[in-house]
Structure formats: structure tokens, C-alpha cells
Amino acid sequence: MASTGGGELKYEMAQNAYIKLVLHALKHKTSAVNGVLLGRTSPKNESLVQIEDSVPLFHNHLGLLPPLEISLIMIEEYYSARGLGIVGYFHANERFDDTELGNISKNIADHISRYFPQAAVLLLDNKKLEALPKGKDRSPVVQLYTKDAYKNWKLVAEDGGIHLTFKEPAANTILLDYISSEKWQEVVDFDDHLDDITKDWLNPDLFK
């Protein structure tokens, strides 16, 4: 089984899932933000997790339970009817040089991994994001964490046995396009929805 370190666990992330979360972080530059990853284990290969979509959650008071509980139930209800479940968690820290995975993230990720043991945690890498326009980096601007054999969240080394790749290789190029057109202004998260239910956390028209 590939659920512990040293296995050949692979995460393949759809471009839109990735871009939505990075744009969300850029929309709220002065706060921490988080989101969930939706997907499934590949029916053909149980050590491949396909991350198909994402939902940006909050940009305020990430440590409070009520909005989190409501959002997770709603998201599960919506996506399970479409064959997808919550397979991971995304977090961007408030400060540029904060590269730590905090306790709030770990708690939420623990909860998610209770239902999906191969859950992935993605932490936005601000330095990589900053360097994106200058270099030709085609890898996701995130750090990947998974649970090790001792049930702790461990940073996955770039040359480790676990990999995070894009489904569409040009994801960063598209991301840069959206950044320069300030597309982040259109991203709606769950906080926005709870404040105004006409705002749709599914972001159906974001990439049209």
C-alpha cells in the first residue's frame, strides 16, 4: 500500500483547481487563506490521487469552527453526488516569510485525513510564487505535506517517493496570464458566500 512514506504515491492536480487557490491567496494578500481539494483515487491505479477541483474557503478567522463545519458539509454534499470527495487542504500563511504549517492547518488536515487517509496538504510557497514571472518553473508553487508513518504531517522532499504534478503542464503559464489580468478579483470563497449567498463558492464562471 502506498499510503505511508517511501511508497509511490502520486497526486495529479487539475489546472483549474490549482489556479483557483493561488488566485484566492492573491486576492487576500494581507491575510491567511485556506481551501479544500476535491478529487478521487484513480479507479485504475490506487496510488494515484486525482485532484479535480478546489473550493476556496476563508480569508478571515480561519481558526473558528462554525463556518468551517458548515462549509465542509455543504461541499461534501455537493461533490459526493458527482463522485468526488475532499482529498486535501490548501493553506497560505499571512506573512511572506512564514514557511511553517501551523496548528490550525494541521487540525483541519487531520480531520480530512480521517475520511481520506491519503490526504495532501498544500502550503503556498510565497518565494516560488514571487519568482514565477522571472523563471520558467513548471512545478506547482506549493509545498506538499503528507502523513508519515507516525501520523505527523511531513514536508515531502522534491526527490522523495511522493510526487505532485499538473494534469496540464502549462498550468503556471496560464496562472501568470490570470495574474497579470488581475483575475483574482473574481474569485469567490465561502466567507463571501456566507456574507452574501448570491455569491457562488463554486466559481462557475471564473474560467469561462
Binding site: 473558528l64 469552527l65 462554525p66 458539509i73 455543504m74 454534499e77 516569510d97 512564514d98 490550525i104 487540525n107
Partner: protein, 303 residues
């Protein structure tokens, strides 16, 4: 804190200026009055006025307030050269000013020269120990460096003197929540509710923290504060309506097998809240109605 009306007024002006309809000066005045953080727009519109010598001089003495406003916005957007230019202009006009000295210290902070900024703020505070802005900038310097415990300590000291500063209480509460120090966050919201008892957002935040703390007593109190939020906001607060449903569900789970007295004291409340939510969604977000209904069903089943 800004009301919904004030926010939409500001947004309307912002759209107007963005689409070439003018009104930049009105926008800048409103942004200054409401103390909102829209630094990219303030920088853009402010510079358009400052760089045009006719527009600039037509503002009279307000020109200098604009320089200050643009300097701060520039620092927030990391346009440090623009900030320096504005500060230089202010320095020339007001050579001995402490207010300009404050901006110079902020520029050091914006550059990330933490020790120099700290020293500048400390010396400014020696001459004027009651400058609230500088006290808060020192907290910001600590926060920016990741010294959260120092930030908390200084913010607490600040609040001992300036206990009517509601924004500072809210900032402290947010810091505590981010560290999962919920009891301390609850204390801050209690202070806010005491001094501003008719502001529903304080009741809501307090209820959210109590629910997060958990335990039967906290849940029952949270339910009361969700109720007062709904009362104070004329029934229009969806977060509070959800809160009622969550509390009822959690209370029933905890009270299972306990004495009757511990059970839900107001059993009609969750169904009223659910009905209110369903009505709202049917009206304004009908595509999400089925997701809402199954969510509410989940909460009832687990109770």
C-alpha cells in the same frame, strides 16, 4: 468597521473613477474617513492628482494630507520610491514635524529595517507617549517579524491605556483566534460587547468562539448570542442562522443520555432558523437550495 451602506458607497465611487467618470478626490476623502485599506486604488488615484500640478494646488492645504495618505498607501504597495518622494515633499514643507517623523519611521518599517524602525518609534514615543498610531505600529513591527507573543504583550499594554480602541480589541481577538487561544479571544469579544452592545458582529464573533471552545455550557451560551445577533440584525444574518442549527445539533449530541434539564431549552429555534435559511436560499440562491437542504438534514440527523 464599515457599514454595508458605506462600503457600497465607496465601491460605487471606485467603479466610477475606474471607468473614467471622475470623483478621485471624493474617493480619497471617503477612504480616509472610513479608514479602509485600499492602498492600490489610493496610490493610483492619489498619484494622478499629485502628479498634475494644477489638480494638486487646487486642493489648497488638503494637498499635504493627500501627500501623507499617498505615502502610506505607497508603503503598503511597496512602492517605496513614491513614498520617499511624498515624505520629502512633506519634509520640505514641515521641517520639524513629528507627524512627518512618524512617516519616516514607517518607511523604515516598510523597508524591513526592523531595528531602525523600532528605535525610531521608541524615540518618538519618548516625546509623545500617547501617540496611538505609533504604539500600534510597534505591534505591527512585532507581528511582521513573526514575534506574535511580543505583539500580544504590547497590544495588551496598549489596551490597558486605550481601552476604548475597538479596532485594537478586534485585532487582539483575531490574533488569539489564529493561535487557537479561544478563551482569550472570548475575553476580547466580551469587552467589545460590553462597550458596543448593539453591534451584532461582536455577538456573532463571540458565539463563534464559544462554539469552537465547545462543551455544553459554551454551546448553550453560543446559541443565546447567535439569537441576539439575529435579533440585532433584523433576522438577516445567515451565519447566525447556521450557528443556531450547529448549536442545536451539538447540544443534542452532548445531552444524549443526560437529564432532561440539560436538553435543548428552545426546541423550536433550529427549525425556525432552518426555515429562515431555506427561504433566503430559495429567494437568492436557488441553485444551492438542494445542497442547503441536505446540509440542514445532516445537522438534524446528527442531533
Amino acid at each position: 468597521m464599515v457599514t454595508k451602506t458605506e462600503e457600497s458607497q465607496l465601491n460605487k465611487l471606485e467603479n466610477q473613477v475606474d471607468n473614467g467618470g471622475g470623483g478621485a478626490w471624493e474617493y480619497l476623502c471617503l477612504a480616509r474617513k472610513l479608514k479602509v485599506r485600499r492602498s492600490d486604488k489610493v496610490l493610483k488615484y492619489g498619484l494622478s492628482i499629485l502628479n498634475d500640478s494644477r489638480k494638486r494646488s487646487s486642493q489648497g492645504s488638503d494637498e499635504w494630507t493627500l501627500y501623507e495618505q499617498v505615502a502610506v498607501a505607497a508603503m503598503d504597495c511597496h512602492a517605496l520610491d513614491v513614498a520617499k518622494d511624498c515624505i520629502n515633499a512633506l519634509q520640505k514643507k514641515f521641517p520639524e514635524s513629528k507627524r512627518v517623523g512618524r512617516l519616516e519611521a514607517m518607511l523604515l518599517e516598510a523597508k524591513g529595517s526592523w531595528e531602525d524602525a523600532e528605535a525610531a518609534y521608541s524615540s518618538l514615543l519618548e516625546e509623545n507617549p500617547f501617540d496611538q498610531v505609533i504604539h500600534k505600529r510597534r505591534v505591527a513591527v512585532a507581528k511582521a517579524q513573526g514575534n506574535i507573543s511580543v505583539a500580544i504583550e504590547w497590544l495588551n499594554k496598549y489596551l490597558e491605556i486605550f481601552m476604548a480602541d475597538h479596532d485594537a480589541w478586534r485585532e487582539l481577538a483575531e490574533i488569539y483566534v489564529s493561535l487557537q487561544m479561544y478563551k482569550q479571544a472570548a475575553f476580547c469579544y466580551e469587552e467589545l460587547i460590553l462597550s458596543q452592545p448593539t453591534v451584532p458582529l461582536h455577538h456573532l464573533a463571540y458565539a463563534d468562539v464559544l462554539y469552537t471552545l465547545g462543551g455544553l455550557e459554551n454551546l448553550q451560551t453560543a446559541k443565546k448570542y447567535y439569537s441576539s445577533t439575529i435579533d440585532l440584525s433584523g433576522g438577516k444574518n445567515n451565519r447566525a442562522l447556521f450557528g443556531i442549527c450547529l448549536c442545536s445539533s451539538a447540544i443534542s449530541q452532548l445531552a444524549r443520555g443526560r437529564n432532561r434539564e440539560d436538553k435543548d431549552s428552545s426546541p423550536d429555534l433550529p427549525s425556525l432558523a432552518s426555515a429562515a435559511l431555506e427561504k433566503e436560499y430559495k429567494l437568492q440562491a436557488s441553485d444551492k437550495l438542494s445542497v442547503l437542504t441536505s446540509t440542514l438534514k445532516c445537522l438534524r440527523v446528527s442531533s
